[in-house]
């Protein structure tokens, strides 16, 4: 079980993770308890590693972002967090599409995190202990960290918002891998028809399904769905 003192996910670089995609690998690396779905994924290892590239972030940016996400929604006694959900992967993809207006803010903000970490704690962000990483993030949230444009709190809130999106969105968008976000908060999942019993105050059993697994929303000509007229 992961704890504050254990090596955080940043101990493994993002580049080491890219060959095997999914919460199974990430959760194992992070030392998190395996969610049932992750266990199932391990029981049926992928036939071939899935290759994956960073879409817009640089490797250094991605490492910092991974580390930030892992502190915002940590892997802990309550199970997988943003690392297993692959929130940073979601953000990387979105920054080339719907969130492209924030690309420059990420370039400047992630660089500013490292500069501030060096100044305040004596090392780049990914090399800091979880406690020191949290101290840097707290300074950002309280808007006392320096070197950010327009200010640290603005960038902190931007990353927090996107980390939540990447942890709890439909998995189609590259986050909430293996539904770890939905499992965390007890979302019983996508049901296209909900009866009165399923609206009683005890939520029904969870189903794990992306909207784009529904036949009517899957794009024509692709078993995995098309782009639905929008970029993920």
């Amino acid at each position: 079980m992961a704890s504050e003192t254990q090596d955080p996910p940043h101990g493994v670089s993002r580049r080491d993770l890219f060959k095997t995609v999914g919460a199974g690998a990430a959760a194992a690396v992070a030392g998190a308890p395996l969610a049932p779905s992750a266990a199932a994924a391990q029981a049926h290892p992928a036939a071939a590693p899935q290759l994956e590239a960073l879409e817009t972030l640089t490797a250094t940016e991605a490492d910092i972002l991974e580390a930030v996400c892992a502190r915002l929604i940590p892997t802990d006694e309550n199970g997988p967090g943003a690392a297993e959900a692959r929130a940073a992967h979601y953000i990387d993809r979105a920054l080339t599409g719907p969130l492209r207006a924030s690309r420059d803010a990420y370039a400047a903000g992630l660089a500013a995190i490292d500069v501030y970490a060096q100044a305040a704690k004596g090392a780049p962000f990914v090399k800091l202990s979880p406690r020191d990483q949290d101290a840097v993030l707290t300074d950002m949230e309280r808007n006392v960290a320096t070197g950010f444009m327009p200010n640290a709190a603005t960038f902190f809130n931007l990353v927090r918002t996107h980390t939540i999106q990447g942890t709890f969105c439909d998995p189609y968008y590259g986050g909430n891998a293996n539904f770890v976000g939905w499992d965390l908060i007890g979302y019983p999942g996508l049901r296209m028809t909900v009866d009165a019993q399923e609206q009683r105050m005890s939520a029904p059993k969870a189903v794990r399904k992306s909207a784009y697994e529904e036949a009517m929303f899957a794009g024509k000509g692709s078993a995995k769905g098309g782009d639905h007229g929008h970029r993920p």
Partner: protein, 570 residues
């Protein structure tokens, strides 16, 4: 230059909630109607249950004209501008925002039509807030009742009547005005949570009831009943159980062969004959090509912000300050519905709000309008209290922590793990009045991609709205606590920036010195120009505007068809 098209009887600018309704009585009367719509047709395959896309990215973004003309806002003429909204609250598309709205389909209550005379009669004229430009409507609820009834049946509204011909039914809203018959469908079902809230309201001696919704509670017009899947809020319906005009009145109008729908058509101005001062048609751009569509009658049905903008942009020698604006009334009497001062409750148990829709809930009208004695109070008007079942994961994880946890890290994660399904946010719509210094005009700086200025909102909530907001908040907190909440959080008043409930700007009234359109919805200064939508409404009431705007639109269209020669003949 512009391509001149063949003349038609009526051109409607915008085929949304109101344009899409008005087309039907006109087409049935045998008039040739061209509907210009800036968006496209959307189909059930477009309506995936996708929270990120619908609720955080303002889908559909592709070719959204509205998103290029988001109004600017400043609280008053000397205040700095508010941050510009990233996403327009309304959308383009055949059916307009009725595709993704909450579909709450309320009638206004009788008091909303008579705010000035009823307040004066009961409490004295001094109780009308200082600086308010509020007037009585030119008619009462009884004039609009037949049109409410028609729209409820043509669009399809589910609900529980509370007053049929003066006979009160305690299952419905005791405070509604008399209606000729019940709703065409029974109300949407409740949930265990909304039933719990209703029980708590009764313990407080209030009278809860299910709200009316343009959502099928059973098969209606060959379209199926609601599936309650939880993605209705800013999402279109994948089974066409939400009765947007795209699946109700527009197809019926098209069946007559009298309605021609032109999509991707961006209207840029209304043309005027300088000699007569009458409108002659509209100019629009489609696929980069300019067209002129001549018509005997023009109906503006875009939205409050765009109705006003189109008038102000349509300048001519006859109307140098904008069409219909020689009296200086275009843009005046603007209101952003006061839906601020929210109340969020935390319960010590799970609510299972994960499914359902914003229109599936419990309402209380005991504190709306003048349904309670204001003698000892320092405001007029009131609010509708509404609790409903609607929750999705990103929104749930973004919940308030009620000061009980930080906003990130392990302690936060533990908090949302426990509480993501234990909170509920009430929707509180409150009386909003027009004031001298709340208005719309053209922004001197911000422009759309075609170079035309966007609408500027100059408006802020006044003392009456703030006091009323605090009063309604207390009632809502009381209701939540009675139902077992362990904490409530009261939010701020909020601003009057761009909203889905925007009223005024082309107000309806008999007095042409203070109103743009007459009691039938036609412009005092331009007899063959009609205006549809909440921009003609002079009071907001405490309930969603759409059904009222649709009833008014039907009434204007029917009046046009009945008096065709007078209005169109010149």
């Amino acid at each position: 230059m512009a391509i001149d098209l063949k003349k038609t009887d009526v051109v409607i600018v915008g085929l949304g909630a109101v344009g899409g309704v008005a087309a039907l009585p006109l087409a049935r009367a045998g008039l040739d109607v061209i509907g210009l719509e800036a968006g496209s047709w959307l189909t059930p395959r477009d309506f995936a249950p996708d929270e990120l896309r619908n609720n955080f990215r303002g889908w559909p973004q592709a070719a959204q004209k509205a998103n290029t003309e988001i109004p600017t806002h400043r609280p008053n003429a000397s205040a700095p501008y508010s941050p510009r909204l990233p996403i327009h609250p309304m959308m383009n598309g055949v059916g307009g925002t009725s595709l993704h709205y909450w579909a709450q389909s309320w009638r206004l209550n009788p008091w909303d039509f008579r705010v000035v005379s009823e307040t004066t009669r009961r409490y004295g004229a001094a109780r009308i807030p200082k600086g308010s430009t509020v007037e009585d409507w030119p008619f009462g609820l009884e004039e609009l009742e037949p049109y409410y009834d028609t729209v409820e049946h043509e669009v399809g509204v589910s609900g529980q009547a509370g007053n049929i011909g003066g006979t009160i039914d305690p299952r419905g809203n005791l405070f509604e005005g008399p209606r000729r018959r019940g709703y065409p469908m029974p109300p949407l079902r409740g949930t265990e949570f909304t039933e719990r809230m209703a029980t708590a309201a009764r313990k407080l001696s209030w009278q809860p009831f299910p709200g009316p919704a343009a959502v099928n509670s059973q098969t209606y017009d060959d379209r199926p009943a609601c599936q309650y899947h939880g993605f209705c809020n800013r999402g279109g319906c994948h089974v066409s159980a939400k009765n947007s005009t795209a699946v109700s009145t527009i197809p019926k109008a098209m069946e007559t062969k009298r309605l021609q729908v032109v999509t991707q058509a961006i209207t840029t101005s209304v043309a005027v004959d300088e000699r007569s001062g009458r409108v002659t048609g509209v100019n629009y751009v489609k696929g980069g090509v300019e067209y002129f569509q001549p018509a005997d009658v023009v109906l503006l049905a875009s939205y409050t912000y765009e109705n006003v903008r189109l008038l102000l942009l349509s300048k001519s020698r006859a109307f140098p300050n904008g069409l219909a604006n020689n009296g200086g009334q275009v843009g005046r009497h603007y209101m952003t519905h006061h839906t601020g001062n929210p109340v969020t409750a935390l319960f010590p148990f799970e609510l299972n709000n994960w499914y359902g829709l914003p229109a599936q809930g419990a309402a209380v009208d005991n504190w709306a309008d003048d349904n309670f004695d204001h003698s000892g109070l320092d405001f007029i008007g009131g609010g509708n209290l509404w609790v409903y079942s609607d929750r999705r994961p990103i929104g749930a994880a973004s919940m308030s922590t009620f000061g009980k946890a930080p906003t990130w890290g392990s302690a936060w994660k533990s908090f949302i793990k426990q509480n993501a399904d234990r909170f509920n946010v009430a929707y509180l719509q409150k009386t909003t009045l027009p004031y001298e210094d709340n208005y719309l005009d053209l922004d001197p700086v911000a422009k759309d991609p075609m170079g035309f200025p966007v609408t500027r909102i100059t408006a802020d909530h006044k003392d009456n709205e703030k006091r009323l907001g605090a009063f309604v908040q207390d009632k809502m907190a009381q209701w939540f606590m009675e139902a077992g909440a362990i904490a409530v959080e009261k939010g701020p008043t909020g601003t009057m920036g761009p909203s889905t409930h925007a009223y005024g700007g082309t107000r309806m009234g008999d007095n042409r010195a203070s109103n743009v359109v007459n009691r039938w919805g036609f412009v005092h200064e331009v007899p063959n120009l009609g205006i549809l939508g909440a921009s003609v409404m002079g009071t907001s009431g405490a309930h969603n505007p759409t059904l009222t705007a649709q009833a008014l639109a039907w009434r204007t269209a029917e009046h046009l068809a009945t008096n065709w020669k007078t209005i169109a003949g010149g």
